[in-house]
Amino acid sequence: MLDDFATRAALAGLGVALAAAPLGCFVIWRRIAYFGDATGHAALLGVALAVATDVPITLGVLIIALVMALIVSSLSERLVSTDALLGVLAHSALALGLVAVSLLPGRAIDLDAYLFGEILTVTSHDLLLIWGGAFAVMALLAWRWQALLSATLNPDLAVASGGNPKREKLILTMALAIVVAVAIKVVGALLIAALLIIPAAAARPLARTPEMMALWACVIGAVSALGGLHLSFAYDTQAGPSIVTIAAAFFVLSTGIAPLLRRG
């Protein structure tokens, strides 16, 4: 079954979508969308460094994504105006990555593949990495769910009841780095943040509890992944952007429909 490239692509898309969706909810609740952008864009730099130093690409991306996420996280604690700073970091990371890629001696890498993903060339080995990462993220979130929610709701209240918001933030940071590392092959550096945010945003009007929002985000993410692949096969469009387009359509639909439902 895994011999079929379409099946492998579908499984890869599902794995990334299921890990990104619940994490994306936290990204939205904490208003750190740019956080995803900065970390996702830094992935390209990770690719360049991995190729230059002969390290597996996933490992290179994981390390750079983690470093970037930690930098953003610690800076955002110290500075008041983080919006501009995160914008600067997100785009600088992308530019630096592009420069680094073109500086690679002799070995041209397929830039498009890392910017937009190349889900159709996913190997069984990639699948193992993607699902391993996805399970790690889902397990991490499930294990810390109550504490993560409390810290997200209000850090002071969390402290008052014996929690440790700093630790929870670090856990989210690690989860984000893992998602970026496994998602780059599927949607590419440019659209990783989209896969985090859009299914979660589309799920918001449909949910009354955090759990339902995460669940809906998973459903929307999964359907977007499969629908996007279908679109890509049918019309020969790029797979990563197709997946994000379907997710965006869900967002428009759910945001448009929700007020009507509430009225009725």
Binding site: W29, R31, L153, L157, G163, R204, R208, T209
Partner: protein, 242 residues
């Protein structure tokens, strides 16, 4: 021993002494209000008593295994976070449904369990925060300007509820407030703080104290009397309902 006490407590914040030489104790079942102008150190005192702030000198003592119910000033919940009241009350620890129902009833808002947190009015929201503080059957309720943003009748109703809760479960109440006249009527004892304890005693004693009048003027005295009148009326009314 006292539930909470401070001995010769001095607090510094950013290198500045905000409070010095404070001796304080609160007993089981007592309602104590801390009043004082902005920057007088009243919130710092509260934070030191719950252990969120370290004394520069002096000491704080807490009764063994003291259960504190804390009601913060105001809690912002992001509109992107869907959260029903009952789900909110299950954070960070899951509670039995009966415990949640009981807390909401004590806070006077049993009907709110399935509402969205972001759809609540200011008064309802503070009641839910009160319910949250009541979840673990506290020995002492600590409220940090818990009625900021509520109008005067709203504040009065809120504090009346606090008084009822105290009578029902016998917890002590320690609160910091701006709403002098409203809060003072419900208090056994008032502490007027301005860098140190200026004066202390029953609400009437403090309202008449020259130290208090120097800080707050005399204007609140009339409002206190007015409130007391309304308060008695409302109080009888609520008993008829019960």
């Amino acid at each position: 021993m006292s539930l909470l006490s401070a001995h010769k407590l001095t607090l510094r914040h950013n290198g500045q002494t905000v409070l010095h030489g404070v001796d304080f104790a609160i007993e089981r079942g007592e309602i104590v209000t801390i009043v004082g102008p902005n920057g007088s150190g009243k919130s710092s005192l509260l934070r030191a008593l719950v252990g969120a702030m370290k004394p520069a000198s002096g000491s704080v003592a807490r009764a063994p295994a003291l259960r504190i119910g804390y009601v913060p000033q105001r809690l912002h919940i992001d509109s992107t976070l869907p959260m029903t009241v009952s789900r909110f009350l299950n954070l960070p620890h899951r509670q039995k449904p009966a415990v949640v129902r009981d807390a909401l009833t004590r806070a006077g808002v049993p009907e709110l369990a399935h509402r969205q947190m972001i759809a609540l009015s200011g008064g309802q929201f503070q009641r839910v925060l009160l319910a949250r503080a009541l979840l673990n059957a506290p020995d002492i309720l600590i409220l940090d300007e818990a009625t900021q943003g509520l109008d005067q009748p709203g504040s009065a109703t809120f504090y009346r509820r606090i008084e009822d809760v105290r009578n029902e479960i016998g917890c002590a109440v320690l609160m910091v407030s701006h709403d002098l006249h409203v809060v003072m009527a419900a208090s056994d004892r008032v502490l007027c703080v301005n860098g140190h304890i200026c004066c202390e005693g029953t609400p009437e004693m403090v309202a008449d104290a020259p130290e208090y009048r120097e800080i707050f003027g005399t204007g609140t005295r009339g409002a206190l009397a007015l409130y007391r009148h309304e308060h008695d009326h409302e109080h009888d009314h609520s008993h008829e309902d019960a």
